[in-house]
C-alpha cells in the first residue's frame, strides 16, 4: 500500500526458493493474507511451470494463514495434479494446522513435519 509507506516497510511475507534434483522448496516466513497472497501465487505458479517432481511448501515459519492463502493452497493442489507435480506441505504449528483443520482441508494435503521428510516423501 503506497499510502502508508512505513507500515509496510518490511515485507510481511518472506519467500525463498531452492531447487535441486528436480525438487523445488519454497520456504515461507510471516503472514499469508489478502496482502501477501498475490506475490506468493505468482511464485508458486512459476515453480509449478518448471514441472519439478516435487514442490515442497515449507510453512514452518508461517504466522498467519487466511482464506486467501487457503484458496491458493487449494488452487496449487489442483494445478500440481494437472502437471504431475507432487505438492507437499511442511507444517506443524497452530497458525497453519488450525486453519487447515477448521476448514476441513487437512486431509486434502500431503503434510510433513520437516522439509527432509517431505523431500523423502
Amino acid at each position: 500500500m503506497a499510502t502508508d509507506d512505513d507500515l509496510a516497510a518490511e515485507d510481511p511475507l518472506g519467500v525463498d526458493v531452492q531447487r535441486s534434483n528436480g525438487a523445488s522448496v519454497i520456504r515461507l516466513a510471516g503472514e499469508i493474507d489478502m496482502l501477501t497472497t498475490p506475490a506468493l501465487r505468482a511464485k508458486v505458479n512459476e515453480e509449478l511451470q518448471g514441472k519439478p517432481t516435487v514442490l515442497v511448501l515449507d510453512m514452518l515459519s508461517v504466522e498467519f494463514l487466511g482464506s486467501s492463502g487457503l484458496a491458493l493452497l487449494v488452487e496449487a493442489l489442483d494445478e500440481s495434479r494437472n502437471r504431475d507435480v507432487a505438492l507437499r506441505l511442511v507444517a506443524n504449528s497452530r497458525p497453519v494446522s488450525r486453519p487447515l483443520q477448521a476448514t476441513g482441508l487437512t486431509d486434502l494435503f500431503a503434510l510433513y513435519p520437516s522439509v527432509e521428510a517431505a523431500l523423502a516423501g
Partner: protein
C-alpha cells in the same frame, strides 16, 4: 453454554445490537473499538487486537486462532468496499464467555457483500454466528460471534 441467549440485557451486550445506537452503524458503542484507515495494510493490526482480546478473555488457543482468522476475513471482505478515504471500524464486546465483533466500513449505495465466496464460508465455519449488517445505507458491516468452549 453453546446456546446464545436470544435477547441481551446487560450494558456491554446491548451495545452489540447494531440497531440500537442512535448514530447508526458508524457509532456502535462497544467496550473496545479499533478504527483504522480502510487499507489492507492495517488489517493485521486489527486481527491482532481480536486475538489479544480473545486470549485475555481466556479463549483456548484454537479459538484465539479462529477469531483472528474470522476477523481477518470480515475486514478483508469489507475493506475493498469502503468509500475512498473511509475508516474500517471494529468494535469488540466480551461477555458471558463470548466475544461479539462488529466490523464496518462506510460505503456508497451500491456496495454489496458477497456471501457465495470461499472467504465467507471460512468466516461462518470459524464463528458461532455471522450476520451481514446492511440496514444503514451509509455503512456496511459484519457481526461475528465466537463462544469460548471452556466455561
Amino acid at each position: 453454554m453453546q446456546t446464545p441467549e436470544p435477547q441481551q440485557r446487560d450494558r456491554s451486550s446491548t451495545a452489540t445490537d447494531p440497531g440500537a445506537g442512535s448514530g447508526g452503524l458508524a457509532e456502535t458503542p462497544t467496550p473496545v473499538e479499533v478504527r483504522v484507515h480502510a487499507d489492507p495494510a492495517l488489517i493485521p493490526s486489527v486481527r491482532a487486537v481480536a486475538a489479544d482480546l480473545a486470549a485475555r478473555a481466556d479463549f483456548d488457543l484454537d479459538a484465539v486462532s479462529d477469531l483472528r482468522m474470522a476477523v481477518d476475513e470480515a475486514c478483508s471482505a469489507l475493506v475493498p468496499l469502503a468509500r475512498e478515504g473511509g475508516q474500517l471500524r471494529c468494535g469488540f464486546a466480551m461477555a458471558d464467555g463470548r466475544i461479539d465483533v462488529i466490523c464496518r466500513v462506510p460505503v456508497t449505495g451500491d456496495a454489496a457483500l458477497r456471501q457465495d465466496t470461499f472467504g465467507w464460508r471460512v468466516l461462518t465455519t470459524l464463528t458461532d454466528d455471522a450476520q451481514v449488517l446492511d440496514a444503514d445505507p451509509e455503512w456496511l458491516g459484519i457481526h461475528l460471534r465466537k463462544q469460548r468452549l471452556n466455561p
